[in-house]
Symmetry: C2
DNA sequence: GGATTTCTTGACTGATCGGACAGGAATGGT
DNA sequence: ACCATTCCTGTCCGATCAGTCAAGAAATCC
């Protein structure tokens, strides 16, 4: 229990969580039934109740896994020691990669927000806000140092989140408009560069003083 | 029936649709129950079935009303005869105003997209795509005329939609981070100017040749 | 003012939901 | 070999769901 070599438990739990991420992303909390969640996990329905108690317990477990994964990029890239050209571009690229690799996670979070976040309100008001309060001064500092235009740092974050996550949340729309069954490497590269350009130029980021550069 | 002075019908239908927009926006399609929809409309449950047949019929009616309202701004602002500084800024401002005035409509649409648009797929692939195919050349034309940087016009639209609609769809998140119960005029003004700046500067829009200007 | 259509309503139904539970199977420690 | 714990699963249950229905009330038409 403490020592926890609960291999069977670990495997089953992971199996259920992975399946639940897909099902909840596709059907939402109310639309997902325990029967479907169980079928997706390849386990009897009662097993899900055995490991997670209730449907909401399972949902929260999925969300918590996502949220833990959710707040890494910003803190890693938006730091005072970086030039904004590096920090903002790196952050946008990381989030875009994230949108491509795990779109379902993003969609579950989006669905929760759409409904007013009834199950993660505490997180929004506390944890997320605390994180933003750490990021905003960094961006303001860049502006004050003359490395970029003065811009409202929090609204800039909202805009970055919106642009990057739209490629995960609303990808049906994007695929429909582009007339593609799935977005390929090129599509994502173009999208990423568009967002990076909008952010860097939009914030009037001056170019950094000639460090190492990758080929275009 | 044809001549249609069906006043009672008209009133009831509008009443139900208005209530349904709120309920569907808050709870989603699966989460909204006919009982709750009826309660919000102040009518017995059976009345909703009398006028709309099924729950999905009501939902589609709500969505269609939204979609009709949805595609006006772009065609009005993104036109070849405008300078991009005027067209893009005007479009962004219009969409931001929209996000503030009718956030619930935006949320229903967003919820539908999140789930893969099972009920409006035809619209995405046909109507929306057709509209975008009309808008993209206008933007490309602006770039070709040297009025702004060359940028992928469709991805630019995706980004504009994302940024403007995030203030409707995810306003819980925004309110939580800003620590506000509701966004006031100032908040929305700052948000709007942030988005306008990101778009105009981000696209490298040259300033138009000295027309009338408002004070800053 | 009687007939006819439109509208309203509470009561009902079959299906499905989340969840409970008890007992059987497998596992692991000794 | 034994036992205790963990894990698995078919079956059941009360609640709630979308949708039905028949009969009453209101409005409309001739």
């Amino acid at each position: 229990m403490d020592t926890g070599i609960a291999t069977i438990r670990q495997v089953s739990v992971d199996q259920i969580l992975a399946a639940a991420e897909k099902v909840f992303a596709q059907h939402g909390f109310e639309g997902a039934t325990m029967a479907r969640l169980a079928a997706a996990a390849g386990l009897p329905k009662a097993n899900l109740h055995y490991y997670f108690g209730t449907k909401e317990g399972l949902y929260r477990a999925v969300l918590e896994g996502i949220l833990a994964l959710w707040l890494e990029d910003a803190a890693a890239w938006i730091t005072p020691d970086r030039h904004p050209a590096e920090g903002l571009a790196g952050y946008v690229r990381a989030k875009m990669a994230h949108s491509r690799a795990r779109p379902q996670a993003s969609r579950i979070f989006a669905g929760e927000l759409l409904r007013g976040a009834p199950r993660v309100m505490h997180y929004l008001g506390l944890e997320l806000r605390r994180r933003v309060d750490e990021l905003a001064p960094v961006i303001s500092g860049w502006s004050a140092a003359g490395l970029m235009d003065p811009i409202h740092p929090v609204h800039l974050l909202f805009c970055i989140w919106a642009m990057t996550q739209t490629y995960a949340d609303f990808d049906v729309q994007i695929r429909a408009v582009l007339g593609k069954v799935a977005l390929d490497d090129t599509d994502f590269a173009v999208a990423t560069e568009t967002v990076v350009t909008l952010v860097l130029q939009g914030c009037g980021v001056r170019m950094p003083p000639a460090k190492r550069r990758r080929s275009a």
